[in-house]
Every structure is written in structure tokens, then in C-alpha cells.
Amino acid sequence: MDCPVKPGNDGQQNFGEPMITLYDFELSGNCYKLRLLMNILDVAYGIHPVDFFPGREHKSDWFLRLNPFGQLPVLQDGELTLSDSGAILAYLAKKYDTSGQWFPDDPAVTAEILRWHAVADDITATSSAARLALGYGYNFDIEKSRKGAHRIFRLMDEHLWFGEKSGRDWLCAPSHPTTADIACFPYVMLSEEGGISRQDYPALRRWTDRVRRVPGFVVMSGIFPAGPAKT
């Protein structure tokens, strides 16, 4: 069943027919990336819930017709059907971000963002895998996944620490967040569900606080709002 929603008002019926439908699972960090960016950009969308767990509906015939790779999320905008969270983030930003800040045209910045989208996929393959193994019965190698996540978090922590020293608050060079920050955020925040502590990564933790203070930020289950900023 389609549930049209207004941004920031999940599940509340409205009577306009949004053009965009997100095939979504609430506890998926990759689906959340799109809910988060659409809320920030104030884009109206409808949710089509997919029973990823325990129903494994992402492997059902009807879903495989939408995305033969059998992965969430899928986003439909009018006649267009898109998959892969990083690709969809880029699409949403290029199409609906009037400020042009979330996925800037500058070639060097574009390359930088795509580089971090790839890191985001590595975070999914490690931090999210550990979470799926511990919480949702997946047969992933938990120790290997944790080790991989710690290696990425240490590199991110250094990158962000040096950034703070040079006045850069975000993953990429611009003075504002980009889709790179959205792409990397959820499975950093959900790492503890995979038994991966962020205690040793203070700059990474400060960055997650900054992301949580972006205007239009919304939570997902398992991620709580930031406390008030220190003044």
C-alpha cells in the first residue's frame, strides 16, 4: 500500500499525489539516506513499505522487476525508476536542490563526493554487515566486518580532525555539507548495533553531531537527535 507522506511527517496521509515513491524499509540506513536528503530539500514523497525483514520482500518477483539486484532502496520519480542510494542521492540533489550545494557541479568536488560515496558503500559492507549479522541473523563474518569498519572510521577520524584544524567541517572541501556526508552518516551512527564503538574517534563523533544539526535533519529508528550545541 502506498502511504503518501509530507516531509517530516512520516506516515501521515495527505491528499496530494506525490510524484516520488520511495520503496523503503524503516530500519535500513541506505533507505534513510534518501528520506534524510528529501526532508532537507523539502521534497514531497510517498513511501511504499518493503518487508525486507523478516519477509525478504526485496527478493520477491515484483521487487526484482523494479531492481534486478534485489537491493533497497528504489526510488521512482514519475516514469523513472532508480536504484542504489548513492546514485539516487546524486539524482535528487541535481534535480531538486535549488541551492546547488549538495552535489556541486565543480569537477573536483564531484570527484571528491563520488570518492566518499564509495567509502559509504565500504561502510555498508563492514559496519552494516556486522549489524545485520548480530541483529538480523545474516551469515557475515562479524570480526572481519568490525575490523574493516574500524579501519575506515580511523581514516575518517583523521580526515575530519585535520579538516577541523583547517576550518573544514565536512567530508568534502566546500564550506557546507554535501551528499557525501549524507551517504556516510547512517552506518557510522548505527555502528554500535554491530558492536563497533566510536569512542576512539572524537572527530568522527563531532562530525555526526554537525550532521544532526543540519536544518531539516530527521531521525530514523536507532538514531537520536543531537543534544544542544555547546556554546
Binding site: P49, G55, S221, G222
Partner: protein, 298 residues
């Protein structure tokens, strides 16, 4: 080596899987009371459980070749087994059999906390506005009003009644905020069942069960049951609602310290709203449960 579970815990029926999520002809392994057990279903759909001896997830098996079996039973859509001598019947949930109810599993989710901590969190209303903001509670409606708690001698269960809470969105079927009345039962040391006002039918109650599978003393799997009066939502919608709630509880539960539940009344300071938790802890103590808890010093 983990210590052997206390005899009460050993002889209980324990939930291990949603029956129709068990593969037919394939092995699924899981942990119960520190023991690895293997599960499958025969072509007749009936679950079979045994103590694992090196089997791996996904191995193919004909269940008829399994001779040394653990006792199993299916109830409320779930498979239950016992590592000792099952002494008693499983607790009743009569509503489950009502023909117009939508019954469903909502997933079996691993959590890094003891089973009794998860039961206690399920009983708590104080966290609604802070953890389930704009769904099961919202500020400034944070008061947990006085409610009644008793331990039913006859049924050997903890019962909390007249629990009232103002909820912005009590269920998938709710269209407005409502004051919801809850009844909580703890009919099993590691299971709880709640009854809450049903937005669709004032005369009936939605039933939500949480059945905890104690994997180790500090880890468990939560098996969620919904038995709802809801003529419009799909199973996917109803699962999503419950998983949203549970996904919010998960990090809070996993941050509890210590992970085992302390039964000494002086070890954690309760407030009036914790009346049901106090009764639950005392009940566990009186039963002699030591698995997943820090027993009271004698």
C-alpha cells in the same frame, strides 16, 4: 565455559524461531542458553530441533534423519523448545485464536542485553515520550500515572493493570492522539504480553507479545508478535510500525549497564513508575532464576 543455567530456566519452554520462517529441508542454527542448537522443518512443515554438532546454516537435511531431538512445540506462530524437562504448559494467549485477528511475527532481532533487561524495558512506560517521540508519547505528557500491579498466584504471572498513557499515535490504525490503557502480563520469566486499547474497536484490545530467546546471559533474540484488530493495514505496514518502535528501543537497551538484570532492590533506584519492574524483579528472585540476572546476595 559458561555456567549451566539454573534448573527453572533449563526446564522452561524457550522460543527459538518464527515457525514459518524456518526453511524446509535446510538447517538454521541459533544459540539457546549458551548451547548451539540446529533447527529445520520437515516437508510436513513441522519444526524439528536438536543440539547442534557442527552443522552450519544452510546445510541441507532431511528432518526424518534427525533421531536425537529436543522437545518442540509451536505456539503463537513461533517454535519453542526446551533443554531440560519441560514441566509446564506454555502460557495462554486466548486472543490469538480469535478468527478476525491479524496475527503476525514481526521479526526475530538479536540484542546485546540480557533477556530480563528486555522484558523490563517492555514494561516501562516512562521512556515513551523520549524514545518513541510522537508515536507512543510526547512532551510535556510525560507523567506515568498510578497503576496497579499484582502477582497472580493462580496463573503465576506478574500483572500490571490500569496503565494509562497519552499517545500521539498508539497504533498503525490510530488517526488521532488518544489516552491508551495498557495491561501488561509477564507469564514467563523471559516473555511479556501487552494489551492496549484498540483504535479501531473500543471494546477490544490489540495484543503485542515480546518473547525473548536467552542466547547467553548477556545476549538474547527478541521475537515480536502482533495480534491486531486492524481491517485496513497490510502485514507489511503493521510490521513496519512495530519494527520502528523496536528499532528505537534497541540502542537504549544495548546501552544498559550491567547487561544482566540486578535483582538486589538496592542496586538500582526505582521510582513509582517502576512498580511493575520491582514486582518482576522480586518474582524472578522468588522463582530462583539466576540466568541473565545478578541474583540478590543471600
Amino acid at each position: 565455559m559458561p555456567k549451566a543455567p539454573d534448573p527453572i530456566t533449563r526446564d522452561l519452554w524457550h522460543v527459538v524461531a518464527a515457525t514459518n520462517e524456518l526453511p524446509i529441508g535446510q538447517i538454521e542454527t541459533t544459540l539457546l542458553l549458551d548451547r548451539r542448537i540446529a533447527l529445520t522443518r520437515g516437508i510436513d512443515g513441522e519444526p524439528v530441533a536438536w543440539l547442534a554438532t557442527g552443522e552450519e546454516n544452510g546445510d541441507e537435511i532431511d528432518s526424518e534423519t534427525v533421531l536425537d531431538r529436543l522437545p518442540v512445540r509451536t505456539a503463537y506462530g513461533y517454535t519453542w523448545t526446551c533443554l531440560g524437562t519441560p514441566s509446564a504448559e506454555l502460557f495462554p494467549i486466548p486472543e490469538f485464536a480469535e478468527p478476525d485477528r491479524v496475527n503476525m511475527s514481526c521479526g526475530s532481532i538479536g540484542i546485546h542485553v540480557s533477556a530480563p533487561r528486555a522484558v523490563e524495558n517492555f514494561l516501562d512506560m516512562g521512556h515513551f515520550p523520549y524514545v518513541h517521540t510522537d508515536i507512543l508519547g510526547s512532551e510535556p505528557h510525560t507523567e506515568v500515572k498510578e497503576y496497579d500491579v499484582e502477582v497472580s498466584e493462580e496463573r503465576d504471572e506478574v500483572l500490571a493493570t490500569k496503565c494509562k498513557f497519552m499517545q500521539p499515535r498508539a497504533a498503525k490504525s490510530a488517526t488521532t492522539a488518544m489516552e491508551v490503557e495498557y495491561v501488561y502480563r509477564v507469564p514467563h520469566p523471559f516473555c511479556s504480553v501487552l494489551y492496549k486499547s484498540c483504535p479501531e474497536d473500543e471494546s477490544r484490545r490489540d495484543v503485542i507479545g515480546i518473547f525473548l530467546q536467552p542466547m547467553t546471559e548477556e545476549t538474547c533474540r527478541a521475537h515480536l508478535l502482533q495480534s491486531m484488530i486492524d481491517s485496513t493495514s497490510t502485514i507489511t505496514d503493521l510490521r513496519r510500525f512495530q519494527q520502528t518502535i523496536f528499532g528505537q528501543d534497541k540502542p537504549i537497551l544495548e546501552n544498559q549497564y550491567p547487561k544482566k538484570l540486578p535483582l538486589d532492590p538496592r542496586s538500582e533506584t526505582p521510582i513509582r513508575a517502576d512498580k511493575s519492574a520491582i514486582a518482576y524483579r522480586r518474582w524472578l528472585s522468588q522463582k530462583g532464576i539466576t540466568y541473565g540476572v545478578i541474583p540478590q546476595a543471600s
